[in-house]
Amino acid sequence: MEIKEFDPTAQVDPAVDLKAIPPPLPEIVSLRVFAET
């Protein structure tokens, strides 16, 4: 098993990982970028 190093601020919410709730939206959503996707 290869254990990995992560940015400590990147901890994932288990409620999101186990699909109890949807992931939060990015703090800033650029409408232009969103419209282009």
Binding site: M1, P8, Q11, P14, D17, L18, K19, A20, I21, V29
Partner: protein
């Protein structure tokens, strides 16, 4: 009284119900997917916290908007008759055992914990999801003891007691005051000698007791209590029920899926292993992690940061408490 399944279908379209309260549906943001869409990529559930969840991330804004509509739609009272005749109400949680957790119990638990009822409902839903995931956890993340030792980036398990202890001390920032003692070496002024800076312990060695804590303490304290912790801490994951060949799956899940940094795995010279991780970044995440890890079989006391845990380099019934996995 609205039918919650009809209300959900009114928002996401046709639902392929695989249980009384949960089913697969078309993602409300499917047109935004940047990868191929599978039949089971998007799911809707109506009990607990009504939620639409999609595996894809590019559709998040559309899913968030649909979730708002779903929760608004299911915000007024509703009932659902289950196949066995029981009735589920808005805010009740259908547990993995099939039992219904009534919303009154959810509210009472929220009140007892001083928690927002909505957050309590998320925690109760999370418990159900964690119970469903548990068999997959131990299969997917299987990391038995021998493999943990073999996978260690630094080979430390054969080091002697002094070396084990001093290697472990390096996990701590130099300014930290660390407690080392036995369980009752706390609470009276004479116990001040058990709370020392890391540099002092480096000189003294592993002779003051078999235990330490995952948290550092304020300078000058003599009492091992949460109030005296200085804020520097690790999350020490342990279990009284999972064997050494099982608990590694929890460590691997925490690292690979939840992105918690693993610093060391310690063999307690008993039946268990302890995983030393970064502490959760906030109280919110901590409560959710506690609910999840408890379902997986971990000790809920691990979130009491002043809880004593085994220190490497000390002996327990003639056996060395030692680090078996250490990051480089």
């Amino acid at each position: 009284m609205i039918d919650p399944r009809q209300a959900a279908a009114g928002i996401v379209g046709a639902v392929d119900w695989h249980s009384a309260v949960s089913g697969y549906c078309r993602c409300p943001g499917e047109s935004l997917h940047t990868h191929k869409t599978g039949k089971k990529d998007c799911r809707v559930c109506v009990d607990g916290v009504p939620t639409i969840f999609c595996f894809h991330s590019s559709c998040a804004p559309a899913v968030a908007e649909a979730n708002k509509r779903l929760r608004r739609g299911l915000g007024s009272p509703w009932t659902l008759r289950l196949p066995d005749g029981r009735v589920l109400r808005a805010g009740d949680v259908l547990q993995s055992s099939g039992a219904v957790l009534p919303r009154e119990v959810v509210l009472a638990r929220a009140q007892a914990e001083g928690r927002n009822p909505g957050e309590q409902l998320i925690l109760e839903t999370l418990v159900v999801m964690a119970e469903r995931f548990k068999p997959e956890l131990f299969e997917t993340f299987h990391w038995p003891f021998a493999q943990i030792v073999e996978d260690s980036p630094l080979k430390v398990c054969d080091r002697d007691a002094d070396d084990q202890f001093r290697t472990w001390l390096k996990l701590w920032p130099a300014h930290c005051h660390v407690w080392i003692g036995d369980v009752y070496s706390s609470g009276r002024p004479e116990h001040r000698t058990h709370f020392r800076p890391v540099a002092d312990w480096y000189q003294i060695g592993p002779v003051m007791g078999n235990y330490t804590c995952g948290a550092a303490f304020k300078a000058g304290t003599y009492s091992r209590s949460n109030a005296n912790c200085d804020g520097t801490r690790f999350l020490v994951v342990e279990s009284d029920t999972l064997a050494k060949d099982e608990v590694g799956a929890v460590f691997a899940y925490l690292n690979l899926r939840l992105h918690f940094n693993l610093h060391a795995v310690i063999d307690t010279a008993g039946k268990s292993l302890h995983g030393w991780f970064d502490a959760p970044r906030d109280k919110h995440l901590e409560a959710r992690l506690k609910a999840t890890l408890t379902v997986f079989g971990c000790d809920s006391k691990l979130f009491t940061y002043s809880q004593p845990v085994r220190v490497p380099g000390a002996y327990r019934n003639g056996k060395l408490q030692r680090i078996v996995w250490l990051k480089s």
